[in-house]
Point group: C3
Chain length 426, copies 3
């Protein structure tokens, strides 16, 4: 009883904290839904529907609403037990006044119309953010993306490093890098100069961090300049690289970008452990998998090499949760960040959050980020996290005697807002 | 309070659901105990007794009851804290009216006599199943086993693939396969033809699935037909195989059997991650171990190659629980099945079950199977699971607002019965 | 309500059990703090302060109190959410009557003076032990340490094997071994004879066990005598060893010491999974890390080779918790021991303890050890464990119907005291 009251008081206060969401994939020029499809097209729903048996053809981007929506609404019944389904219903209720208990093939048009109607409102962005208690939302931007027109009052750009680090040999990437930086990418030095221009452009555009996702067991180590020269040269000329040269290129570019993080004083946000394309038959964005039995130790050479760079680390695999918390505990330049994707289910988050609060300095925790593609999901996802945070702080912090209710709220504010403000200087 | 009432109401309803137990080792011609030894001989008890210090000689199959039983009853005191001990006492009370608080060297004969008396009753099988709320129990049958005489009203055969995949080079296996299928096993084609006859025979005998247990880090990949020909040829002639040929044989047979699963529309039940014979000094069936730090990724080539085959996957290692749940979430032909052996302790099952209910479509979950050798343990093991299911559904599903009490019971019915009925078409 | 009362009754009784602490680093000639620095110098505090941003120079052993203490007290604010901070405040209150709610740069001298005053008391050791309900504390002693003067009424020496197994090639180690044993270390036989003398000396000095910490993925296997001869010969002469010879030396010495454990009937305490020096920029004793994705399987050859030796195993990585519990369940000569270092946070311990109590014979569990450097921390750390033990026994053992309140207390006594008494014969 006492516990339930405490938890509910904490939640009430937590809900008032204006959140800084440090990672999302929101497109700044289409940040909210203008149709039901914009919401149900989120890979969490299409992949679950497909996994539960919905025909892949019906989930094709070309399939018209009239076919796809009723079938998808029907498919929801197979996974209405999940947290993901809960996200959908909560935002439908809170943001679109959808009053039905379930979304069905009978009532989907009702929700679709409500979304379309609100999608026309001016100030819709701020309306959603206010309802969701979000103050600022980080974006993830490609190096060659145009940053003009981003509403800096709400959005904060981040430079996405994935293509530069892992896809420099793919068609058009070097060319695009050369074009946007007006540089010649034929050598390690040339590449570095181009990357520095990218960083300069992003800094000017308001970016405050760099972000990358890494495959499991990716080993990071310093490379020899001459080897990198060769690898970059071949990549720029579109020549095939050997396995060793590929590794050299990946590590060399990652080190170069980390060096620029140091120079531009930008934290590096790293999401560790995703196996891209593991499942061959999945839907769009529904083919990636985590890998059990993985370790973060391969990152240590990078963390050791750049003690001045802040690394905000996330993991995809629950089996690395303790290792990550221990990095936050011991390694000065590591910040423990959020709960990512497959790992962002309450059953995993609950123990992980409790352990972080027990063992990591409260100033080194970024509580949660949305990873969302449309702003609406920020409401549901952060509400899920807020409820969990209130529960863990009540039971594990206040009732266990580690702090008072007031101190618990201070911790909550650090996790939701203050640490992000300090670490990213937003 | 509210929570306890809800949990208890849910449990009351859950206990009424007639369960389909999709995996056991019950011998169809001796399915229940006719002596205490039949129960205490279960490896869970002999291995714990040995581990806690009981002399191995006393646990030898040749040791007469009068020596072994009192010593084993005495040894129980060292592990009367465990869940396994709880299974024993619960079934003794529920199925044999054993009223003592403990089983001791003084009272073991009383229980032994009660077991012997009931072992003579006609309809004992149905009596136990009714008490245990079990409707059907899957068996695990060797490819060369006689399926005649299996009571199809109660038992469902499964083809055990372990010997075919991993022990084809051992003495007598090829010969037995040739004999029961009246085939010549000298080539890949010959082997396939023989396997097809095995499947045909099992289908005719009422089998609805194939089952196998896999060692940790077993990599599954397609093999070249010529290589398989060579490997099968050598195996059939009893010639020694190289390491590469052995791998070819294992993968080739597994692929061939999976292809037959496709053809015969039988789900493939896979138990992943057991290291056989790891502990050299253990008792009978008490030498196998799990392995931390393992991954399911090596199965992916098989899952990708047979999108039409349903794979019901279990893991032995808690560290793979999240990976397995994520496979159920994403991969259409994966069903998440039960909690296996070392992993079937409530402390592990509780979080795992909560995570599955949060993230995997409810139609893709087989809640629990007994893995038992005698029907009596179905009562205790499923009761353990039912209590857990009621608790998790109460706290994590209903109270967390993901569904109503009625919906929670629908989920329970799917996990205990309906999904098995649909997936295995029983 | 019922649960809270039960838990509190259990805790009251548990607090009365005089504990045998089977592993610490307490120096027998300076076992308690004589200044605040003795407490705040514990690596848990310096590493967290450094991790949270405190300048490394301020944490240097040479930095005077007047500079270091106020800065460290200030730094505590960054991690006052942690369990480690809780340890400090609890012992300050209980052992030094420190009444402030927090330790600050304003009041640190007050605590410092209280520590200095009590540090002069005769009988301070017994005063602390009584307050902490500790009866005996195991020490960790180097092979060349003088054991004279150890108060055997309170302390129990253990032979630390780390330097012998892993650092025999480092300057001075062989020389020191030769000197203290008056032996010639030029061959495998010579080394064994010297080690036997070390064991004899430790047995005479009251030692009852050997202790070692092992790196992740250390593989233990028997070596060929001739190879060991060569490796020992080179080590003794200070010649460089090849990688293979190094491995031979490590395994050979470990096997030799285990053989002596057999001969002297001493349990071998093994702490598995620490990566020494992983973090390059850490403070003193603050550079070591765990590694996710690791397994205990590499120890199995040793466990199999010495069925008569009792191995008391601990792990650093939560991902190995289930594997370790399963070893305790199955492997007769394995005792599951405590919760080590990064893994000794309540969030990890709670589930691990529940699982051990569900699956491992109660006679094979050593509940907790302090790993402390000063006796004062025994109070806080064991109190943390006692609260957890009371909670898990209440909820998971008594309320789940696995035993009565009286039986729960029997289990607690085994875990805190009786098993240690029996296993180490103290």
């Amino acid at each position: 009883m006492k516990s339930a009251h405490l938890e509910s008081r904490l939640l009430g206060e937590i809900e008032k904290v204006p959140v800084i969401d440090v990672h999302s994939h929101v497109p700044h020029d289409a940040p909210f839904a203008t149709s039901l499809r914009d919401l149900l097209g989120y890979h969490y729903f299409t992949e679950l529907a497909h996994s539960a048996g919905m025909a892949k053809a019906l989930l094709d981007p070309e399939t018209p609403d009239a076919e796809m929506m009723p079938a998808l609404a029907e498919a929801l019944r197979s996974f209405d037990n999940t947290v993901q389904y809960g996200w959908l219903m909560e935002l439908a209720r809170e943001l679109f006044d959808f009053q039905h208990e379930r979304l069905t093939r009978e009532n989907w048009r009702e929700l679709d119309e409500a979304i379309r109607a609100r999608g026309n409102r001016r100030e819709r962005v701020r309306e959603i953010l206010q309802k969701a208690s979000l103050e600022k939302v980080f974006l993830t931007n490609e190096f060659d993306e145009d940053l003009a027109g981003i509403d800096g009052g709400v959005f904060v750009p981040s430079l996405r490093a994935d293509r530069l680090v892992f896809q420099l040999t793919e068609k058009g990437v070097c060319e695009s890098l050369a074009r946007v930086t007006q540089s010649e990418i034929g050598s390690a030095a040339g590449l570095r100069a181009a990357l520095e221009k990218v960083f300069g452009r992003f800094e000017a555009g308001g970016a405050v961090s760099v972000a990358i996702s890494l495959p499991p067991q990716f080993s990071v180590f310093p490379v020899v300049e001459g080897d990198l020269d060769t690898a970059v040269g071949k990549a720029a000329q579109g020549k095939p690289l050997s396995a060793a040269e590929t590794v050299t290129l990946h590590c060399g570019v990652l080190f170069a970008m980390t060096e620029l993080c140091r120079q531009f004083e930008m934290p590096f946000q790293m999401m560790c452990g995703v196996r891209r394309g593991a499942y061959r038959h999945g839907v769009y964005q529904g083919c990636d998998m985590l890998q059990a039995g993985d370790t973060l130790r391969n990152l240590m050479p990078l963390l050791n090499s750049f003690p001045e760079v802040t690394f905000c680390l996330s993991v995809l695999c629950d089996g690395q949760a303790q290792e990550l918390a221990s990095y936050g505990w011991l390694v000065r330049n590591v910040v423990v960040s959020g709960h990512w994707w497959y790992d962002a289910m309450p059953a995993y988050m609950e123990r992980d959050l409790a352990a972080r609060l027990q063992s990591v300095p409260k100033t080194k925790l970024l509580g949660f980020y949305s990873d969302m593609y449309k702003l609406e999901f920020g409401l549901s996802k952060f509400n899920m996290y807020r409820r969990l945070l209130a529960r863990v702080l009540a039971r594990d912090f206040v009732e266990d005697g580690r702090g008072t209710e007031v101190e618990a709220l201070e911790v909550a504010r650090l996790l939701l807002r203050e640490n992000a403000v300090r670490i990213f200087r937003v």
